[in-house]
Amino acid sequence: MAVCVAVIGKDNAPKYVSCLNPNMELDFHYKVHNALDVVEEKMSANGKASGDIRELYLGLLNSTDDHKIFGYVTNTKIKFVIVTESANTSLRDNEVRMMFRRLHSVYADVVCNPFYNPSEPISSKAFNETVRNMMAGNL
């Protein structure tokens, strides 16, 4: 399952980053940040092609020896990034999509909160709980 989940705002600054292993936080921040290059590339490529605009899933962004990094971008240019372990060979593409869809739905809940200022980092307990579950593998 996911080892790191990140939400990145329109301005490419992080709104939420959570890692399964807190000691690797810096490493994951770098990985997620680096993947934004590919997100931007894919977004501009999608913009040009007159394909299905509703397809928000960007697929695999990057992979390293240990990790695979997947991306998803909402219509409002909020990016979700999920990092999984390369060793986890049983993880299917569809499951990653499911995680993103789930993440999108809880993110929408966060934004619907009238007390949430969209320019602030996400500190919602419910959101955090869902992400924790995602990382623990009980989606």
């Binding site: 934004l36 390293t64 060793a87 060979t89």
Partner: protein, 985 residues
């Protein structure tokens, strides 16, 4: 398996075979030919090359066609001997194999066609269709072979989970198919598919093995004996788990293939073998762009598979192998100029850099260290040996690099710069800067902090908005900097809230140390990096001020010299252009607001800045906080607010609380000196209007002002009593007029007074006796003391009713009353006086009333009684109202009476009004009324008025009301007890 060895074969026999025939056949592969294939696969244009063999020497097991070359040129010879030979030859050919008889002369060919009944297989060597015929036959042969092999491969693949199946043998089989397809020019992609299938099949096996391992592990742990364990991975996979002895790069090695087929190869051998095959095919297909693209996943998969299969290898061997393969692939890419700068190549380069970095650290090859230890040199030799003898694709650099730190560093920099350049070129700025970040580490080790700082600064710009990364890079950057840049980095770190307080304090103390070493120029730093400018509130006027609110993120208090520049003219446009990017410039502070040094505490701070010396009008532009005379925190140039100078005259403002009229009151006049200040002893004449007396009672006083500087204040206290003319209004404004040399014209000032109390009177009557009640209420919302009330009458006498002679307290909302009994006749004037005391200041209040004629003249008495016979009044039963009107003395006019009854309670049944002639002192009347409801009903009222009959002056009679107190109603407020009506049965 060699492609040369799998080329299709053309055998030749017969006397007709000669050099001409050979060159003819060799042209078979010169042209492409449409290959129609079964199973719905699309046609392909391919070129077929074939190897020529004499019939006796031809190898078996290859797609083959046989040719017979006849030298016979005349029909007779054909008939006598050649035909028999050909027929014998044809019979010797196995079924299903293609053959062709080539005849030297066309006429013999015609003869042969008819006699042998094989029109397609007999052809003249001069026939232009010969080549086409040969190609077609070759293709048919190859197609047949392909189908046969394809079926075999599929069958074998189905058996892959059976006992005794071996990947090596399967590989050998599928390779035959691949090799066969590889001989067809134009069908290399089909060959590549075979290798891709092998690749995928192997990957799947390893994946399954890892899953099986995991599941069985869980089952074993949970003691789930009743569940079947998954079958163990196939035994042939075990050979790939064997410890690595060598880690050669790409290249075809016949030993390796032998080992693979015999299930004796290492994982890397297999992977390298497959990838080399794929690489060769890609090169043949002229698709070099796929090589780098396929390489990185291969390296990552291998790294994973080594882990899954728990392969043992010397530390660094896997990295060594990955670098070697990367170098080889990059070497191949270099032959294609557009490929070496492609994204996959750059990513591969980046990957190789990481691995090389790890190797460098492992083997002590990184710069700046002691150099490799003897153990590390041994390890490097061992790793180098594992790369095998001369690699075929280049890549000798790695062996060299493992041997010497200098060569290693050269290689590392070369790779890193290639990747960095490509990333930048392709717009992957973050990847480029992250690589730059690693390069910075390298350069720092090399002892080049300058270059490291440049890379780190660049990396820092990429991570804007990522506090964790910013702090990480900044902390590293701080290690590479000196002087003012170091000071700025330390300040930023000290102000980063994501760091722990202790760490921030350390940075802060280091900053203080650095500042001591800075030269006097100090450094200028953007204010926002350390402080948040919350608000700036300018106060214009004689005393220019600005209230500044800032939030300090520093961990400790800091003493700073604040100043706020005032931009008096429009900024020059040229300044912005000359401002280097990211550098904060200190603007023009020649006009500014400032203050003494102030201590800024962590968190919110407010301080006031004052104009020193000359005043200026303009925009507040930049805030500067100078710390230790060295570090200048300057905010960005902005329009923080407008500040103006109000040049001119001395102004006056009145300062007072609520001023009460009729009592001596004090108030202040505040003289704020204008631009010219106030001279010592300047006289000011103050004139008061009527109703206001100043000081000792006059309406004009003269005061002298002390010397007052520009913008400073002088306060003068005045005493005044206001005596408003009437008590009508409670709030009175008095206009003071000030004249002095300070102003060209009289200076008007207005003062407001409030009348403290208001009084009203009420007349009360008891038969003939009269009482006067004076009600005093507060109008100023303040508590006052009232004492010594007196009432003066113009005529007659009055006696105060005995109430306490002590002063009474008058509270707002609680009026006081005084009562006098009057002995008066006719209209009079009354004057009420009372003394007021407020905060030991005494005053007096008086007011006058006029009282009209009020002596009682008429008494009225009315009574409701039951009608005759009944004892009590009942609802809906007729009652009598007995009205008695008496005059105290004879009056000279008639009276009009009117019965005013509430119509919901009383019904007046007879007359409601009438005129009485008061020629006798008393009148008795009986009127009929009927109560409508039961209960205690108020008495019907009787109103009396003077009746003036019509006379010559007016055609209608006139009614005049009586004055207050002239008619005394004895039965006022009486009630009548009415019982409910009797219910008639």
């Amino acid at each position: 398996m060699n492609y040369e060895e799998s080329k299709a074969v053309i055998t030749y026999t017969g006397e007709g075979w000669n050099a001409n025939a050979k060159s003819l056949l060799e042209a078979v592969g010169a042209d492409s030919f449409e290959w129609r294939r079964p199973l719905g696969r699309g046609p392909k244009h391919v070129r077929v090359e074939a190897a020529l063999f004499a019939a006796a020497e031809a190898p078996s097991n290859r797609p083959m066609i046989h040719t017979f070359w006849s030298a016979c040129t005349d029909v007779d010879t054909w008939r006598s001997s050649e035909k028999d030979r050909v027929e014998r030859w044809i019979r010797s050919i196995a079924a299903g194999v293609e053959w062709l008889v080539v005849l030297a002369a066309p006429k013999v060919a015609d003869k042969a066609r008819t006699e042998l009944k094989q029109s397609e297989r007999c052809i003249s060597s001069r026939d232009p269709a010969l080549l086409r015929r040969v190609r077609q036959m070759l293709l048919t042969a190859i197609s047949n072979e392909e189908q046969r092999l394809g079926q075999e491969v599929r069958r074998e693949r189905e058996r892959r989970n059976e006992q005794g199946w071996s990947f090596g043998e399967y590989l050998a089989l599928q390779e035959q198919l691949a090799a066969l397809l590889g001989t067809l020019k134009g069908a290399e992609d089909e060959a590549l598919v075979q290798y891709d299938e092998l690749d995928a099949l192997f990957t799947q096996f390893v994946r399954n093995a890892s899953l099986i391992g995991k599941v069985n592990f869980v089952l074993r742990n949970e003691k789930q004996q009743h569940l079947n364990f998954l079958s163990e991975p196939p035994p042939w996979l075990n050979s790939f788990s064997a410890p690595l002895k060598e880690w050669r790069g790409l290249g075809i090695d016949s030993n390796a293939r032998f080992a693979i087929v015999n299930s004796d190869a290492s994982l890397l051998q297999l992977r390298v073998y497959l990838f080399t095959r794929q690489l060769n095919l890609l090169l043949k297909m002229n698709q070099p762009q796929q090589i780098a693209e396929r390489c990185l996943p291969l390296l990552q998969i291998c790294s994973n598979e080594l882990r899954i299969l728990e392969v043992d290898f010397p530390e660094g061997a896997a990295s060594c192998w990955a670098v070697q393969v990367s170098l080889q692939v990059l070497h191949v890419c270099r032959k294609y100029p557009d490929q070496v700068h492609s994204l996959p190549a750059a990513t591969l380069c980046d990957y190789a850099c990481q691995k090389l970095f790890q190797l460098g650290e492992l083997l002590g090859l990184m710069p700046g260290g002691q150099g490799p230890s003897s153990a590390q040199i041994d390890a490097a030799l061992w790793l180098g040996a594992g790369l095998g003898p001369e690699p075929p694709f280049g890549g000798e650099q790695l062996k060299e690099a493992l041997g010497s730190p200098a060569a290693f560093q050269k290689l590392y920099l070369e790779l890193a710069e290639l990747a960095l350049g490509t990333f930048k070129h392709l717009g992957r700025s973050r990847s480029a800067r992250q690589l730059g970040h690693q390069l910075a580490n390298f350069h720092q080790l090399r002892g080049d902090p300058h270059l490291a700082a440049a890379y780190l600064s660049d990396a820092l710009t990429a991570v804007e908005g990522w506090p964790t990364l910013e702090i990480h890079i900044l902390s590293q950057l701080a290690e590479c900097l000196t002087g003012e840049k170091l000071a700025m980095a330390r300040a930023r770190l000290a102000a980063s809230l994501t760091l722990e307080l202790e760490v921030r304090k350390q940075h802060w103390h280091q900053l203080l140390q650095i500042l001591k070493t800075l030269d006097d120029d100090g450094c200028v730093m953007p204010l926002e990096e350390v402080f948040d400018l919350v608000s700036v509130t300018p106060i214009s006027g004689h005393r220019q001020q600005a209230y500044v609110n800032i939030n300090s993120r520093l961990p400790e208090a800091v003493l700073v010299n604040p100043s706020l520049s005032v931009q008096t003219s429009l900024p020059q446009v040229s300044r912005k252009e000359s401002n280097p990017r990211g550098r904060r410039l200190r603007g023009n502070f020649s006009a500014c607001l400032s203050s003494e040094p102030i201590k800024i505490q962590p968190g919110l701070n407010e301080f006031i800045l004052n104009a020193q010396g000359d005043l200026h009008t303009g925009h507040l532009s930049q805030l500067s906080l100078i710390m230790n005379d060295k570090m200048d925190f300057v905010s960005a140039e902005a329009r923080l607010g407008i500040i103006e100078v109000k040049k001119g005259e001395t102004t006056i403002s009145v300062e007072s609380g609520q001023l009460l009229a009729r009592m001596p009151q004090k108030f202040q006049l505040r003289f704020t000196a204008g631009t010219d200040g106030i001279e010592e002893g300047t006289e000011v004449t103050i004139k008061a209007p009527r109703g206001l007396s100043l000081g000792d009672g006059g309406r004009q006083i003269v005061i002298e002002l002390p010397k007052t500087e520009q913008g400073q204040d002088t306060v003068v206290t005045l005493e005044a009593i206001a005596t408003p003319p009437s008590a009508k209004s409670t709030d009175i404004e008095y206009g003071l007029t000030l004249t002095s040399s300070l102003w060209d014209q009289a200076y008007p000032v207005s003062v407001h007074f409030t009348v403290p109390v208001a009084a009203s009177v009420k007349l009360h009557t008891a038969m003939k006796t009269k009482f006067l009640q004076v009600v005093v209420s507060s109008t100023c919302r303040q508590r006052l003391m009232l004492s010594d009330p007196t009432l003066e009458l113009s005529l007659g006498t009055c006696t105060p009713l005995p109430i306490s002679s002590k002063p009474l307290t008058l509270d707002p909302d609680r009026p006081l009353s005084y009562i006098w009994q009057l002995e008066i006749e006719g209209p009079i004037r009354a004057k009420f006086n009372v003394n007021l005391t407020k905060d030991e200041v005494n005053g007096a209040y008086n007011c006058e009333f006029e009282l009209a004629e009020c002596a009682t003249m008429i008494f009225v008495n009315s009574k409701v009684a039951a009608a005759s016979g009944a004892e009590v009044c009942r609802a809906n039963a007729m009652c009598h109202l007995h009205l008695t009107v008496e005059a105290s003395e004879a009056i000279g006019y008639s009276l009009m009476y009117e019965l005013l009854a509430d119509q919901s309670m009383w019904a007046v049944c007879g007359r409601t009004a009438g005129v009485l002639n008061l020629d006798q002192p008393s009148h008795n009347l009986v009127l009929e009324v009927m109560p409508l409801t039961s209960g205690f009903l108020p008495h019907p009222q009787v109103r009396l008025s003077k009746y003036i009959p019509a006379n010559a002056g007016s055609t209608h009679p006139k009614l005049e009301p009586f004055g207050p107190g002239q008619v005394y109603n004895k039965s006022k407020s009486l009630q009548v007890h009415v019982l409910p009506a009797i219910q008639s049965s």
